[in-house]
C-alpha cells in the first residue's frame, strides 16, 4: 500500500451528491494533480459523514479538519492553503453555532458537540473509508468477524452470542434478533433464506441508504454471518428503487466479496456456501412490512400476509426466512468480533447498543447520528443536534417517522429506547426524529400524516383502506376550518378500530401520530374546530391544496 501524506475525504453520500459534491471531488483531484501532489495526497470519496445540511463536506486527515459547504471554487484555496502551506481555511471550517459571524476556530472532529455524544458502531466506517474499496473495509477490520465465526464458532454459538448481546431489530419493531434467528435455525427444512430489508420508506428515515452507500460490506458481512447462524445459503437484499447509488455500491461490493471469497461456495475453506442477490423494489411503502416484502420478492402485489405463521417458519417461497433491517445486520459483525458483553456496555439494559437516528425539521444539524440507546430527546436536540434553528422555541418532536408518535416539550427527558417510548405512547420505530419549532401548526402537520397513510394503504384490509381515507378526510375538514360536530369523537373511535382490526402494523399504527398529537396539542385542534382558527396561521393554504387531485398512477 502506498503511503500518503494526507487524505482528503469528500462525502459522496447521496445527500451531498445532490449538492454538486462530484464537482468538488473532481476539482480536488485536478488541483492536486496540477500541483504535482498526486503521490502525496489521496482524494477519497467516502460515504455520508452525517452532517447532511452542511454538505458537501470535506475532511482532511491526518489533522481531521472538517470543511463544510465547500464549492468547486473553494478548492484551489483549500489545496494551496491547507495542503501546501498547512494553514486552515477558516471561512470553511465547521461552525458549531452557524451565523455567529466571523471565522470559526478549528476543533478536532471528536471534540465537536455533534460527534462528542456519538458512539459509532454501525457507522464505524461511514465517512472514513472509501466504500467502493473492499481493501479499505478489510483494512479497518472488516470480514474478521466472519473469519472468526467460521473458524472458531458453531452456528449455534453465533446465535447464542447475538442472543446474549440483546440486539433488537432496528427496522422498527425492536424484536430480539437472536431469538428470531433461533426460530429460523430450529425450523425444519434444508432450504432457508436471509432477507435484508432495505426498502426504507418511513418518512424522515434515510439511515439505511447512508449505511449502504457508506459501508456496504458491513451489511454483507452481517448477512453472511446470519446465513451461517441459521443455515441459509442464499440471501436477498430488497432495496427501494429510488436508491440508485446504494444499489450500485452494493452490487459492486457483492462482486468484490465474491472475488475475495467472502461470498460464494466454500467460504474460507469452511464448506459453508452463501451468496447474495439484490432485488430492487418498485415503489410501495407497505413493502417495508416484512410479509409484504416477501410477497413482492415472490413477484406478487406487495400485500401483507396474515401472521402467524411467521417468516422464520414459513417465509420466502414457503421456506424459513430471517428478515432483518440493514442497521440490524450492520451490528452483527462487531458483536461477533467483540462479544455480547462489549455490546451490552452501550445503551440500556433492555435495549443494548446504539441507535442510528436521522434528524430532520427545524434542527441546526440535520443529518445522521449514532448514539447509545436510552439517550434523551433533549440531549439529541440540544446537544448533538445543535438546538432549534434560529434560536426559536421547540414545539414538538415526532419519533419513529410518520408511523411514530408525537411528543411535546414536557417529554424531552424521556430516555429513547423501544420500551420507554412506547410507555409514553410513542415509538422508536426506524429512528427518524422530526423536530418542529413553534412556527408550525400541529393540525396541519397531522393532516400531512393522515394523507400519507391514505396514500400508502395497500387496500387489502377494510379497516386500514377505509380508515386511512376517513382519517384523512376528517383532518382535511379540521384544518380547513370545516369540521363538523363529532369529528374528533369519530376520529378517536376510528383510531381504536383501526389499531385493533387492521391486518398489519401499517393500519394499526396509522392513527398513532394523530392520537398522540391530539393528546398533547388538543387546544390547537379545538381552535380549528370551535373557533375556525389556526393559531399559527398556516392552515389557509390547505383549502387550495385539498382541491388538487393527489397523484397516483391510478385516477
Amino acid at each position: 500500500m502506498r503511503m500518503f501524506r494526507a487524505h482528503v475525504l469528500v462525502c459522496a453520500g447521496g445527500s451531498c451528491s445532490l449538492k454538486a459534491n462530484r464537482a468538488v471531488q473532481e476539482r480536488l483531484v485536478s488541483e492536486v494533480e496540477k500541483r504535482g501532489l498526486s503521490d502525496e495526497i489521496k482524494v477519497v470519496e467516502t460515504g455520508c459523514f452525517g452532517l447532511c445540511e452542511q454538505g458537501p463536506t470535506v475532511v482532511v486527515y491526518p489533522e481531521g479538519v472538517l470543511y463544510c459547504k465547500v464549492t468547486p471554487d473553494d478548492v484551489p484555496e483549500l489545496v494551496d492553503e491547507h495542503l501546501l502551506k498547512g494553514r486552515f481555511v477558516e471561512r470553511l471550517l465547521y461552525q458549531e453555532e452557524p451565523a455567529a459571524g466571523g471565522a470559526a476556530a478549528y476543533q478536532k472532529i471528536p471534540e465537536m458537540d455533534f460527534f462528542r455524544g456519538q458512539v459509532r458502531i454501525v457507522l464505524r466506517n461511514c465517512g472514513l473509508i472509501d466504500p467502493e474499496s473492499i481493501e479499505e473495509y478489510i483494512g479497518s477490520g472488516g470480514y474478521q468477524a466472519l473469519g472468526k465465526a467460521l473458524a472458531k464458532m458453531t452456528p449455534a454459538q453465533v446465535v447464542d452470542e447475538v442472543k446474549a448481546s440483546g440486539l433488537r431489530g432496528r427496522g422498527g419493531a425492536g424484536f430480539p434478533t437472536g431469538l428470531k434467528w433461533e426460530f429460523a435455525s430450529n425450523a425444519k427444512g434444508d432450504v432457508k433464506y436471509i432477507v435484508c430489508n432495505a426498502d426504507e420508506g418511513e418518512p424522515g428515515t434515510f439511515k439505511d441508504r447512508l449505511i449502504l452507500e457508506g459501508d456496504p460490506h458491513a451489511v454483507l458481512e452481517g448477512m453472511v454471518l446470519t446465513g451461517y447462524a441459521v443455515g441459509a445459503r442464499k440471501g436477498y437484499v430488497y432495496i427501494r428503487g429510488e436508491y440508485g447509488l446504494s444499489i450500485e455500491r452494493l452490487e459492486q461490493a457483492i462482486h468484490q466479496a465474491r472475488e475475495q471469497g467472502f461470498l460464494g461456495s466454500d467460504i474460507f475453506g469452511s464448506g459453508f456456501d452463501f451468496d447474495v442477490e439484490v432485488r430492487v423494489g418498485a415503489g410501495a411503502y407497505v413493502c417495508g412490512e416484512e410479509t409484504a416484502l416477501l410477497e413482492s420478492l415472490e413477484g406478487n402485489r406487495g400485500e401483507p400476509r396474515i401472521k402467524p405463521p411467521y417468516p422464520a417458519q414459513v417465509g420466502l417461497f414457503g421456506k424459513p426466512t430471517v428478515i432483518n433491517n440493514v442497521e440490524t445486520l450492520a451490528n452483527v459483525a462487531p458483536i461477533i468480533s467483540n462479544g455480547a458483553n462489549w455490546f451490552r456496555g452501550y445503551g440500556t439494559e433492555r435495549c443494548p447498543g446504539t441507535k442510528v437516528f436521522t434528524l430532520t425539521g427545524d434542527i441546526v444539524n440535520e443529518g445522521l447520528i449514532e448514539v447509545p440507546m436510552g439517550i434523551t430527546l433533549r440531549e439529541v436536540i440540544f446537544g448533538i443536534g445543535g438546538g432549534i434553528r434560529g434560536g426559536r422555541q421547540f414545539k414538538m418532536a415526532q419519533t419513529g417517522g410518520t408511523a411514530g408518535g408525537c411528543l411535546s416539550a414536557e417529554l424531552l427527558d424521556v430516555p429513547m429506547d423501544y420500551d420507554e417510548l412506547s410507555t409514553v405512547g410513542s415509538a422508536l420505530g426506524s429512528g427518524a426524529l422530526l423536530i418542529l419549532d413553534d412556527t408550525h401548526c400541529i393540525v396541519d402537520v397531522a393532516h400531512v400524516f393522515a394523507r400519507f397513510f391514505e396514500h400508502e394503504s395497500c387496500g387489502k384490509c377494510t379497516p386500514c383502506r377505509e380508515g386511512t381515507m376517513r382519517l384523512s378526510e376528517i383532518m382535511a375538514r379540521i384544518s380547513a376550518g370545516e369540521a363538523c360536530q363529532g369529528d374528533l369523537e369519530n376520529l378517536e373511535a376510528l383510531a381504536r378500530t383501526m389499531s385493533m382490526a387492521s391486518l398489519c402494523p401499517l393500519g394499526q399504527s396509522a392513527p398513532l401520530p394523530l392520537t398522540s398529537t391530539l393528546k398533547y396539542f388538543r387546544d390547537e385542534f379545538d381552535a380549528h374546530i370551535n373557533d375556525k382558527q389556526c393559531p399559527v396561521g398556516t392552515c389557509r393554504s390547505l383549502a387550495h391544496r385539498a382541491a388538487l387531485v393527489t397523484t397516483g398512477k391510478e385516477e
Binding site: 447521496g14 445527500s15 449538492k19 415472490e298 430532520t360 425539521g361 440535520e366 400524516f449 387496500g459
Partner: protein, 169 residues
C-alpha cells in the same frame, strides 16, 4: 394504490411513442424465465425499454412467464414506479411527506405547478414533464426534495427549483 383502474390502450404500441420490437420483451422474459419471483425484475426492464407498461407488453410478459394477465396487471398497477400510461420525458416526483412539508415543500410545489401549468398526475402539453406527488424519497436531510428522472435535488426553494428545471429545457 388499491383503487380500480381501467385498462388503458388498445393493445398496440401508441403512435408517437418509441416503437419497440415486441421480441425485445421475449428476450427480457427469457433472461428471467425459471427464476422464482421474476415478474418484478421483468416488468422493470420492460418499462425501461418501452417507457411504460402498455397492455400489449403485459400480455406478452404474461404469455412468456406463463402467468395470467390479471396477475401481471395486478402487479403492474400496484407499484408506484410502474406505469401503464405513457408519461412525459421527465417525471418530476415531489416529496409531500412531513419532513419535506415542514421545510416548505408546498411552496416548491406551487412554484412547479405555476411554472409548468399542470397539476399532479398531469403532463405538460409538450410532453416534457409529468408532475407527481410522492412519499418520502429518503433524502430528508436536504428537505424539501424533488426527484427528476433518477436525480434528486434537495434544499429547494420556489426559486431554486425553477433553476433546476432550466437544466431540462
Amino acid at each position: 394504490m388499491g383503487k380500480r383502474v381501467r385498462m388503458p390502450g388498445n393493445g398496440a404500441p401508441s403512435e408517437g411513442l418509441k416503437r419497440v420490437d415486441p421480441e425485445a420483451i421475449d428476450t427480457i422474459v427469457a433472461a428471467h424465465a425459471g427464476h422464482e419471483g421474476a415478474l418484478l425484475p421483468v416488468l422493470r426492464e420492460v418499462q425501461e425499454v418501452v417507457g411504460y407498461l402498455p397492455e400489449w407488453a403485459l400480455k406478452r410478459v404474461a404469455l412468456g412467464l406463463g402467468l395470467s394477465l390479471s396477475r401481471v396487471y395486478g402487479v403492474a398497477t400496484f407499484y408506484s414506479l410502474f406505469t401503464t400510461k405513457p408519461k412525459g420525458q421527465y417525471v418530476i416526483r415531489v416529496c409531500e411527506s412531513a419532513p419535506c412539508h415542514v421545510q416548505g415543500a408546498q411552496e416548491v410545489i406551487n412554484a412547479l405547478m405555476r411554472e409548468l401549468g399542470v397539476g399532479f398526475g398531469e403532463t405538460t402539453p409538450d410532453g416534457r414533464f409529468t408532475l407527481e406527488a410522492v412519499s418520502c424519497l429518503g433524502t430528508c436531510g436536504v428537505a424539501p426534495a424533488v426527484m427528476i428522472g433518477d436525480r434528486v435535488y434537495g434544499n429547494l426553494t420556489p426559486e431554486t427549483v425553477l433553476t433546476v428545471l432550466e437544466e431540462y429545457s
